[in-house]
Symmetry: C2
Subunit: 303 residues, 2 copies
């Protein structure tokens, strides 16, 4: 069982030789999720040894080029390398026609099915779930429809406390009920409380992705107690006005969101190419939220 | 005055860490031409120090992803970095809607004008000319409409042979006519022949681009005496059948085209990712055409 996030591109708007445009790879219990897909994401995946044929779900935040210009190429490569399994793409309105129009022009015959889920503007709530995880979306505040995402483990089963269970001398056939949290009474009227013979499930973990957005406190509710938060920080404090005008966030503002949401750790990204380093981003954010990180492309965070 | 070609991507179909997909930069007498624009071409341009804001003309061979998926990103970056000068794009039918549909989805406001020239399927002839150069196109033989291009210097003026001219003792006002190739008769009836007092113009040079295509002898006529020929060689001889099925060329076939066209030098490219090296391409081509080259990304050829 694993849950980790690889930053494939940490730059904003324009790719450089040191930072790609936005893309992240989330590996959660053998489900492989790509979040956003700027140009050359497939090359970043090769570089950082992320197997893109494993990706079964792509989440798209918004239809700006630095978040989607790598999609058609990635899907084209998946096809050329013989993919047959379904790919699911969840994103804002327009993501389907954006891709299908390109496929039509380049004559891309998709040898594998693609299932699109388009999110209505302003919508929030569950967009995906399976046995082990669930993904919810919420609106960010950018120039066009932009969705944030929170990927959460589902609670697992309770674990048997064998030592305590054995003290009761009841049939093992009751174990499943006890693990489901039910108290039981056996044929002889003996009562066993689930809490007394089982450990609670391991705490669930979650990861949230917020890019691109102006400073937008309404999202704090969606981010409550998140274990790892990625929040864009295109600018530092000196450019706060520019951040506001362009619907982006400063490092301090991102740290404020993390603090108010009671997040455990904060990753900043979407750094404007105007900055030679992220030292200022880090210093400013840490004045508000100590557990802040400013990664390079290729860094991996384990939850 | 300079005329050189930089190979920005020499791989086929799928970009790898060692070879990008097709793109070339041609610098001819301070006019800057991009030929094809696979995904991540803008990153390759940065890597190989090609100034993409200088590009004023883009030639597109065909609408397959590995030749056009970098276009929208490049144009987006040109805009974000403040370009105002016009960009001209010449390519097959559909290139305009392929780009404009993407721009519409990502809300790309073009701060600079883009002029499109779409070439009819099967067309050949002049597609561009200015004072110093001309560009002609011709159809290749691929699965969809695909255009080859030949970029040629225009003949310059004749040069004065001052020593011979001085022997005639006629007015210097006749020089321009003589340089234009006209013979003159001065007021005293003295006749001076242009050939006797001027040197012929420097020979013009030309570069031709042929990708993607099956082995297609009709193009030989268009490539006559070309100084530098780029011809795709996706496969080696062992995969000749596969080459034919997919409308691609082997190294030997490309060399045969170069030989029959009386080209001076041949660059191979569009190498399938199945080959670890291009040693076999080079060896096979050289059995037919000695002046063959198999470049890595970033190599520059000077005409």
């Amino acid at each position: 069982m694993s849950f980790d996030v690889t930053l494939l591109g940490t730059g904003a708007a324009v790719p450089s030789l040191s930072r790609g445009t936005t893309a992240q790879f989330v590996n959660i219990h053998q489900r492989h999720i790509l979040i956003d897909c700027g140009e050359a994401t497939q090359i970043q995946m090769r570089k950082f040894k992320v197997k893109f044929q494993k990706v079964d779900l792509i989440l798209i935040s918004h239809l700006h080029g630095d978040h989607v210009f790598g999609l058609a190429g990635l899907i084209s490569t998946m096809q050329l390398l013989g993919r047959t399994t379904q790919l699911r793409i969840i994103g804002p309105k327009g993501i389907k026609s954006f891709l299908l129009q390109q496929f039509e022009h380049v004559g891309l015959y998709r040898g594998f099915p693609i299932h699109f889920d388009e999110i209505e503007e302003g919508a929030s709530g569950l967009v995906f779930e399976d046995r082990l995880l669930e993904i919810s979306t919420f609106p960010l505040n950018h120039r066009i429809q932009t969705q944030g995402y929170r990927i959460s483990e589902k609670p697992g089963k309770r674990q048997l406390n064998k030592e305590e269970f054995d003290k009761y001398d009841v049939s093992v056939s009751y174990i499943n009920k006890l693990l489901d949290g039910e108290d039981i009474e056996d044929n002889e009227g003996k009562i066993v409380r689930s809490d007394d013979v089982t450990f609670p499930p391991k705490p669930t973990k979650s990861y949230a992705f917020c890019s691109d957005t102006a400073y937008h406190p309404p999202i704090i509710e969606q981010l409550k107690d998140v274990d790892l938060l990625y929040h864009e920080a295109t600018f530092i404090d000196k450019e706060a006005e520019r951040a506001s005008e362009t619907y982006h966030t400063t490092a301090k503002q991102a740290a404020t969101i993390a603090l108010k949401a009671n997040a455990k750790r904060l990753i900043l990204g979407h750094f404007s190419a105007r900055y030679q380093s992220t030292d200022m981003h880090l210093a400013e954010a840490k004045t508000i939220f100590e557990q802040t990180f400013c990664p390079e492309d290729g860094e991996r965070f384990i939850l």
